[in-house]
Symmetry: C2
Subunit: 342 residues, 2 copies
DNA sequence: TCCTCTTCTGAAAAGCTTTTCAAATCGTTC
DNA sequence: GAACGATTTGAAAAGCTTTTCAGAAGAGGA
């Protein structure tokens, strides 16, 4: 394999100095027409493209962003990444994507890696920021945006939805539909993003409508795995009169529906199910999933825009941004009575 | 924001030359103990990490691979990426991931980008290699592995399953289960990967078992969108006696099941459905999807291993590798009679 | 003590580009 | 034709690291 042509080769072929070649590319108006044409011709003939490493060394800028994400196989993250990618393309960045599996060591290793590769900024997705993570992030001395997570302790910019309010709205939808026995399958309260706030929204909705919000009506699962059937069984056993279940993710919802189907319990006739996230597949489930939509693509897109603004030192927006959620009415939640206007 | 420490700062603090610092990091046995300790201490105190740009410039190696992929939101690709990521982590690479949306201009722009950023190799996923793509790839003078696609015209290494055989096996499964009226929803024959070979496998299976393989039993969809309902309606209209449908992707299968459910046609009692790909969600559909599993994760993993071998110039394996597929028996295909042993 | 042979160490070059600065060229004007 | 200013050009430095090469320091023997 022969060597890639360098600016030197172009200079030689065009019979000018390398400075002139550089100028043709970066400030063409400063070089006289005849030489410019010679240089352009040489560039074309050699198919010369400048080496981004050398450039990065000078500009101290690589036009590359680092992304840490728990697992790209999760469609929720895949959507976010897509939004990031499109914004990056628009702004001229590339994305280095790393799966952490929520593993401390793996995360730290990737952060180091980002530092060495001189990425211009970091997108930290979806995990709570623990004190030692914060310290690691600090030490990097790099712009960071938290994506689909945030931190109240630390002054870190973030982009996400308002989870508490979204959960509240979801449960309110069920209440407005006439349900009074509402259960929940959610993530552990130690999860400060998808766990606690969604439970709090759930509980607040029940409380504000004078319904039973005892913890008996809630089952918490840890992690994001497929042990939904157990959780579902537990919930039904503890709360047999339940007519509607709010779940903290569409995966949980779909798992729940599958379980209920196996048990011969019809959805939504006997039990209504409300999901959370609005992943693509909710549209193909049977019945189609009623859910609260996170604007995943926009979260990704917006977080890159924000990170870019910070890098360019022109961030004018809120430190913590909240993007709007919406309820997607499909077929998995039954309406017992029409909504009462407030 | 204060400047990142450089090797120079370390040298000054440890009161040695920069060469010595470099040696401590790259050949520690050649430097005398007392200085080594001083240097190590300085590195620790300054939290110094070498600049990968400068290193890349010297070694002509960035430990970065470029990935072009149609759309990361497609769970099939997401799985592949995950396999790539894990292999990359193991081998010390990072992945720059780019969505092409199967858009020529976007693809070319990213390839240029990879060239400028001096990636060590390219993973080209899932699209057929058209002549101009090949020319572009050639010009880059970079190692490439085709992932989940291949090329018979050009001498390019690739990793994928044997699509024709996999489709054959899937249809044979239906035949062995006792079905004789078998339809297909597939991708256009112009798609030389997911289209033509799977149709050929389908047709061969029917032919070899003396069943009707006229094209009336097949509906082709273009693209990967959600116009499955139309296709499903067409198939049923043209081929009302169908008892089993082979689809070229799980998305098509799930779309088909959703359509049949809406029409009041029971799966698998009235119509059996066989998917292709074994995406995660097939496990949660109702009924659970019978499908042929592509080893997506392994395809991703293996393609990075192969690319690495090529980069290191120690590739010993086949130019075109085919990984084994398997039939996943779940509930969407009905067994009319038990298998006859051949 | 001097010489030779190792072992360590530092200066400098190389890798590729951009940018600064001074020199060279050009065109005007007197 | 000379002088001036404006325009254009090339040499060299800078950005950060590794590596080569020659010189310095040390050890060992005579």
């Amino acid at each position: 394999m022969k060597m890639k042509p360098t600016i030197k080769d172009v200079a030689k072929l065009a019979n000018v100095s390398i400075s002139t070649v550089s100028r043709v590319m970066n400030a063409p108006e400063t070089v006289v027409e005849t030489k410019k044409l010679r240089v352009l011709d040489a560039i074309e003939r050699l198919k010369y493209k400048p080496n981004a490493l050398a450039r990065g060394l000078i500009y101290k800028k690589t036009n590359t962003l680092g992304v840490v994400i728990p697992d790209i196989r999760n469609p929720y993250y895949a959507d976010i990444i897509r939004g990031m990618e499109d914004a990056s393309k628009m702004l001229g960045y590339n994305l280095i994507i790393c799966n952490t599996d929520r593993d401390r060591a793996r995360l730290f290793s990737y952060l180091n890696n980002f530092y060495e590769k001189q990425v211009d900024g970091i997108l930290y997705t979806s995990d709570p920021v623990y004190p030692d993570y914060y310290k690691a992030l600090q030490r990097l001395q790099m712009p960071v945006v938290l994506v689909s997570t945030h931190s109240m302790e630390y002054r870190l910019p973030s982009v996400k939805i308002n989870d508490e309010q979204a959960a509240y709205d979801a449960v309110k939808y069920l209440i407005d539909s006439g349900h009074t026995s509402i259960g929940m399958i959610g993530f552990h309260l130690s999860d400060s993003i998808a766990g606690l706030p969604r439970y709090e929204g759930f509980a607040r909705a029940l409380r504000e409508h004078d319904l039973d919000d005892s913890k008996d009506n809630v089952v918490f699962v840890n992690g994001w795995s497929y042990d939904t059937p157990d959780a579902a069984a537990q919930l039904i056993a503890r709360f047999p009169s339940v007519t509607a279940v709010f779940t903290s993710s569409d995966e949980l919802a779909i798992g729940l529906i599958a379980y209920l189907h196996e048990q011969g319990i019809r959805v939504p006739e006997q039990i209504s199910v409300m999901g959370f996230d609005n992943i693509r597949w909710g549209n193909l489930s049977i019945p189609k999933l009623t859910t609260v939509a996170q604007p995943t693509y926009e979260i990704g897109f917006r977080s890159v825009m924000k990170l870019n603004a910070i890098i360019k030192e022109q961030d004018d927006s809120e430190l913590r941004e909240y993007l709007p959620h919406t309820i997607i009415e499909r077929a998995s939640a039954k309406i017992l009575k029409s909504f009462s206007s407030p």
